[in-house]
């Protein structure tokens, strides 16, 4: 029992990170139908910049805030320099551009900060909390809290605010969005900033547990993408549930089978889900009359 609980704890922690990455995918996908494969690099930047800031003598909290803002600015730059000039290109080309941007960010980080693995202190110490024979790190609770808060914020944004609907409208029909008075360039800039900021938040929260280096982004982007597909691309609820499920699958496979199979098991289950539910668990089936 305590063993199962332990696996669940670690699964939920990892899952919350995947959920945050998937939520980042959701925003940009909702605004532009583009899957931004540089999303993992935003997570990496969040951790690396926080480390750099605190190593330079800044208080940890301040370093984290600066890291999130700087990463959001990086997202805006990426949109302005790489995505906007290619407007009108097919979505596939834009996705390949994001892969290029991710390689660029990774390379740049390696040049500036080197290849070492870094970490920094947790927010509220490293004393594990004991619950029914299992333990959980206080930092894990912060990660989970972060994912839940971001989810609630995004859900309210997309369903309750006019700006959130404008983001959805921009992705559905860019031309009509302009005609009703939506500044579609601003919507794109905003979604890249939000998405990068959320990615960075994930990096800030997880780095004390998993440590960070210039190359952690790629694996996170793939897992986050898988989580988003599992839940249904474009749906914040799907991103959250998909992320948590993926984390749990990995942790249970690692615990009961072998940690070598954890990635394989997760991806096999995703393939099975997508085979029977191509829209993902929460994806909307789109039917349209013409």
């Amino acid at each position: 029992m305590s063993e199962l609980l332990q696996f669940l704890f670690s699964g939920v922690t990892v899952g919350a990170v995947y959920a945050l990455v998937a939520l980042g995918f959701t925003i940009i996908y909702n605004a532009s139908d583009v899957v931004n494969f540089a999303q993992g690099e935003f997570v990496m930047l969040g951790g690396m910049l926080t480390f750099a800031g605190s190593a330079a003598g800044l208080p940890l909290l301040l370093a984290a805030v600066i890291a999130i803002l700087a990463t959001a600015a990086m997202g805006v730059l990426m949109n302005k320099l790489a995505i906007e000039p290619a407007r009108g290109a097919p979505v596939v080309s834009l996705i390949i551009i994001t892969i290029g941007a991710s390689i660029f960010i990774r390379g740049g980080t390696q040049l500036i900060f080197g290849k070492q693995i870094h970490t920094y202190p947790s927010i509220s110490g490293d004393t594990p909390i004991r619950i029914m024979g299992a333990t959980i790190l206080p930092q894990s609770l912060w990660v989970i809290l972060g994912a839940v808060l971001v989810f609630i914020g995004l859900w309210l944004f997309f369903t309750r605010t006019l700006l959130g609907r404008a983001v959805l409208a921009t992705s559905n029909n860019r031309l009509a969005a302009q005609l009703v008075g939506i500044n579609t360039n601003f919507v794109m800039t905003l979604s890249f900033a939000l998405s990068a900021g959320i990615g960075a938040l994930a990096g800030v929260l997880i780095s004390p547990i998993t440590m960070t280096s210039y190359d952690v982004g790629l694996a996170l982007a793939l897992k986050g993408f898988a989580a988003a597909m599992l839940g249904g691309m474009g749906n914040p609820k799907g991103a959250l549930v998909g992320g948590l499920l993926l984390g749990l699958m990995e942790a249970l496979t690692a615990g009961y089978l072998s940690s070598q199979y954890k990635d394989a098991a997760a991806f096999i289950i995703i393939l099975a889900v997508l085979f029977f539910l191509p829209q993902g668990l929460f994806g909307r089936k789109s039917t349209e009359r013409v």
């Binding site: 559905n172 009703v180 008075g181 349209e288 009359r289």
Partner: protein, 233 residues
């Protein structure tokens, strides 16, 4: 209200509008009729700002509009119901209407939506359904209602009758004439020349990117050349 002078526009290197001159006065219904491919839709796209203009000028309520980006033109009072309806298919009918009034955050939005439902009662019934599931006629109504939510001084209507059953076409044209009594100026682009000229005050005939005839709608409808070329009589 709307004045177009020497307007030219290209797709790549091919010019499709060869110097269009056109005026719409306040309170008028003006129609541009012409065959498929004459450049009518391109003209409206230039007016709403989603098609680049290569020469000429657009003036709206005394202001130059030519360099104003598309999303700002609706703030000046120029709204468009585009060709092919272009509604937000994944949003509900109500969300589509709300986005039509994107620039407003006041109490009047609610009132305007009620008026839109009054004008098109079927939209009230379907208000919570995804707009993509509406029939063609209902989508056209939604596109017009969405444009009206912007409280336009001038409404650009692109082919509202395209692909619709005759009874729906009549209903749409009735609404257009009704707009006149509400003080909305209308520029209506149509292939259905007879229907459009019947409700319009003035008309322009467009052929291969040029205006070839213009005059009061009643005169155009009686003109033998028009009758032969566009009315099929």
């Amino acid at each position: 209200m709307l004045k177009v002078e020497g307007l030219r526009s290209k797709y790549g290197r091919i010019e499709v509008l060869h110097g269009i001159n056109l005026t719409v006065d306040s309170g008028e219904i003006v129609t541009v009729v012409g065959a498929n491919g004459a450049g009518k839709t391109t003209l409206l796209k230039c007016l709403s700002g989603i098609q680049p203009v290569s020469a000429g000028a657009i003036h709206f309520r005394g202001e130059a509009l030519t360099t104003v980006p598309a999303y700002k033109r609706i703030h000046r009072g120029l709204a468009q119901s585009p060709e092919g309806r272009q509604i937000f298919t994944n949003l509900t009918v109500e969300e589509n209407l709300r986005l039509g009034a994107y620039q407003y955050r006041d109490d009047r939005v609610e009132k305007d939506m009620d008026e839109a439902f009054h004008m098109f009662p079927i939209l009230r019934e379907k208000r919570n359904l995804a707009a993509g599931g509406l029939s063609g006629g209902q989508q056209q109504m939604l596109a017009m209602a969405r444009a009206l939510m912007a409280r336009p001084a001038c409404l650009l209507l692109d082919e509202p009758s395209m692909g619709l059953a005759p009874i729906i076409v009549q209903q749409i044209f009735d609404v257009v004439s009704e707009l006149k009594s509400l003080g909305v100026t209308v520029l209506l682009v149509e292939q259905n020349a007879f229907g459009a000229l019947k409700i319009a005050d003035r008309g322009y005939v467009m052929e291969t990117g040029q205006i070839t005839m213009e005059g009061p709608a009643a005169e155009l409808i009686a003109d033998p050349r028009i009758r032969e070329a566009y009315l099929g009589v």
